[in-house]
């Protein structure tokens, strides 16, 4: 127990750094959850983001704008080349259309005037493109029959009432809420792993050098010392885990006090355990604080990137995902993705999630065991 108690005395000197990290990571997680769209543009809401510059103001042009207002989400983008490019790059618009002066007149004169568009080339841009083409085709038909602009625009208003019957098989309720919490818990993978390594490894560094030598000549056995150091780390790991849980509850009590929340709690516990063992391993391996921050960045950021923490797993290549399966974060993110898609909480649907959590715990135990054994071997030399 002496080592365990001493652990917290030593930890005190690392507390300011730990507190800085904790605050920063909590803040960053909060920001990420609040500000990023849970659904990346290509498979989310059904309306593309469209910006229109109407230099024509003709009847047909206004009809087209009205139609797009109905079918798309109109966003305003400053009418400069750079602002257009910026909006497309950062997905704040998918389709920017300029209607040139005289478009309506020329269209009805049977000429082929051109709408100038810039697109983000993604799926929503294609949807916007289809909509514009559809409108102009309807206008073509009516223009062919000799209708004037007003008759055409009024006629199209009736045409577009015709809609196909769409049957949706499963419309998950509470979709945005669960998606938000999925964002939160997935991002937590990065924050919790980084925090655990930074805090636990930093404290363990204090047990090196002369402290280690004194420990070695002390009456407490090596194994016992190591176990107590690990237990001390576990306390911090649990504290970090609880902080994030508290934030999750503050964020969405409805989800957190439901079956979803219970499963998220379990999966994040598995994650914390992995973080603890990684922290222990890195604390055992490295000799300086600079090295700790370096390795944290590589391990936490690297694993997060290729395991689908920041970008959904669907966006990663097959081979990358196969590689990521060797890393614990993949299983954590996979568990969370499954949780958010749950419709019922029967055993069959929960089983794969529990399996993933067991894998996480297995990773943790494995990393701890390997560290423990290799350290002993080195010690004996």
């Amino acid at each position: 127990m002496q080592v365990f108690k001493y652990y917290f005395k030593i930890a005190r000197s690392s507390l300011p750094t730990a507190a800085i990290y904790l605050v920063v990571f909590l803040a960053v997680t909060l920001l990420f959850t609040l500000l990023t769209d849970p659904n990346p543009a290509s498979f989310s809401s059904e309306k593309p983001l469209v910006s229109i510059v109407d230099n024509d103001q003709g009847v047909l042009a206004r009809g087209l704008v009205e139609y797009m207002e109905e079918e798309a989400e109109i966003v305003s983008v400053e009418n400069t080349e750079e602002a257009h490019k910026e909006a497309l790059f950062f997905d704040s618009a998918a389709f920017i259309m300029t209607i040139p002066e005289g478009f309506s007149e020329q269209f009805f004169a049977g000429e082929s005037p051109q709408l100038i568009v810039q697109t983000s080339s993604d799926t929503s841009a294609r949807q916007a493109d289809l909509l514009v083409q559809n409108y102009l085709r309807l206008a073509e038909v009516r223009q062919l029959a000799g209708m004037n602009q007003t008759e055409t625009v009024d006629g199209i208003k009736q045409d577009i009432e015709a809609r196909v019957d769409v049957q949706i098989q499963d419309d998950t309720k509470n979709f945005t809420e669960t998606q938000k919490m999925l964002q939160f818990f997935n991002f937590e993978a990065y924050a919790v792993i980084a925090l655990n390594i930074l805090v636990i490894a930093a404290i363990m560094l204090s047990f090196k050098g002369s402290v280690r030598k004194r420990n070695q000549v002390g009456a407490t056995s090596y194994d016992s010392v190591q176990r107590q150091i690990f237990a001390g780390g576990a306390v911090f790991s649990v504290i970090i885990w609880l902080f994030f849980l508290a934030m999750a509850i503050a964020f969405s009590p409805d989800i957190m006090f439901s079956g979803y929340g219970a499963l998220y709690t379990l999966s994040s516990f598995g994650l914390s355990f992995v973080g603890l063992s990684l922290g222990y391993m890195i604390g055992a391996l490295v000799k300086s604080n600079q090295a700790v921050s370096g390795i944290t960045n590589v391990v936490a950021l690297g694993m997060s990137f290729i395991s689908g923490v920041f970008l959904p797993q669907e966006f990663l290549g097959e081979s990358v995902l196969n590689f990521a399966k060797l890393l614990p974060v993949y299983w954590y993110v996979d568990a969370n993705n499954t949780i958010s898609g749950l419709a019922t909480f029967d055993l069959a649907s929960i089983a794969p999630i529990i399996m993933n959590i067991v894998i996480l715990l297995g990773f943790g135990i494995g990393v701890f065991a390997v560290t423990f054994v290799t350290r002993r071997i080195f010690l004996k030399r």
Partner: protein, 376 residues
């Protein structure tokens, strides 16, 4: 004396495993991870035709308008749909297995679209069928008004009224690599923290000895920072070359502009490190912690962690926050070189980086100059 300190700091830094790790291992390893993660991203963000099952019933075969319109959408150079004409059961299995995004079928003479859940791909399928229904409606009315239209219907949809002026083939994943260069530049601050600690008598034993040596504090500080600059700049340029030639990241043609950004970025990083080291008397570890945390938040806000939305929102509504975030300034300047073209935006970023450096150094100097101690 300057050269003496400069060369010796250079040697000491290059022999320290931490510095080598930060400059020669860390950014390269992380960019390797980025490469793995973002390799596929540009493809994912670009539209690819949507797989759709069409129930090949008799009713469907007898709906020529629908058939023609769906076939038109699935042919050509740049099709919208990929159709599979299969039986109802097969279609349902494929939808269940996520092999298709939706099913088009004809039930009771009415076309129907079946999807699993809402999304853009699903909306496109619905819109495709909507088009047919709406066109039929328009054609009926047109024929009522002028029956001769029937002979000219072939011309419908033949003219293109849309001209796409998008600059094609923009690699949107490149921004992530730019933020990484930004991050690597700012980590040069770690070298500055060491340098400051070694020149301050109250911070380290070596600093104590240095301060009784016959070299002015300013000279030893500048020499230390200069050696840090040389090493970090070499690291930054190596990272840039690694990304271009090994990973194939697109940077645009203007190499001079990129080398200038990296220089300004490293300078800003060193200044930030100096500032952090100067204003706090806490241990070196705490200072490293502060710098690492600042860099991480800076990278986050610059869009590194899938957070481009946040970067864009900051650019639009809190430009001041972007102007004091060196990671963002570096990556934004690199983005300008690649995407926007070297212009106002690029020079604004460079000027902000330089201003950031000057302000940090000036503030630091107030903390670092002329200190004397009664006892240490």
């Amino acid at each position: 004396m300057f050269w003496h300190i400069f060369t010796n700091r250079l040697k000491v830094t290059l022999r320290s495993p931490e510095a080598v790790f930060w400059l020669l291992v860390f950014p390269f390893v992380l960019s390797g991870f980025f490469y793995l993660a973002f390799n596929n991203l540009d493809n994912e963000l670009t539209f690819s035709p949507i797989p759709v099952a069409v129930v090949s019933s008799e009713a469907y075969q007898e709906s020529p308008a629908l058939k023609r319109s769906i076939e038109a959408l699935s042919s050509g150079n740049n099709p919208t749909l990929i159709i599979m004409e299969i039986t109802e059961q097969e279609a349902e299995d494929k939808l269940e297995g996520n092999e298709v995004s939706g099913i088009i079928s004809v039930q009771d003479d009415q076309p129907t679209v079946t999807i699993k859940s809402n999304g853009f791909e699903e909306t496109i399928i619905a819109t495709s069928v909507d088009q047919t229904l709406q066109a039929s409606n328009a054609i009926m009315e047109a024929l009522n008004k002028d029956p001769t239209v029937a002979m000219r219907l072939d011309t419908i949809g033949q003219t293109s009224y849309i001209i796409d002026t998008t600059n094609q083939n923009v690699s949107r994943s490149s921004l992530y690599f730019y933020t990484l260069i930004g991050m690597a530049c700012i980590y040069a601050g770690l070298l500055a923290i060491t340098t400051v600690n070694l020149t301050q008598a109250n911070l380290s034993k070596l600093g104590l000895r240095m301060s009784v040596a016959p070299a002015s504090r300013a000279v030893s500080l500048v020499a230390g920072l200069m050696s840090g600059f040389v090493i970090a700049y070499a690291g930054g340029v190596a990272l840039y070359l690694f990304m271009v030639y090994i990973l194939g990241v697109e940077f645009g043609a203007a190499a001079w502009a990129i080398l200038l950004v990296i220089a300004a970025g490293v300078l800003a990083g060193l200044s930030l490190g100096t500032l952090v080291a100067a204003i706090s008397k806490r241990s070196e570890n705490v200072k490293i912690g502060i710098l690492v945390a600042l860099t991480m938040v800076g990278s986050f806000l610059a869009g590194m962690m899938g957070t481009q939305v946040i970067k864009h929102a900051i650019d639009q509504s809190v430009p001041f926050l972007a102007a004091i975030n060196p990671v963002d300034l570096v990556s934004d300047a690199l983005l300008s070189v690649y995407y926007f073209g070297i212009g106002d935006r690029y020079y604004y970023d460079i000027v902000c980086l330089l201003a950031f450096s000057v302000v940090s150094i000036v503030i630091s100097w107030f903390f670092l100059r002329k200190r004397s101690y009664a006892s240490l």
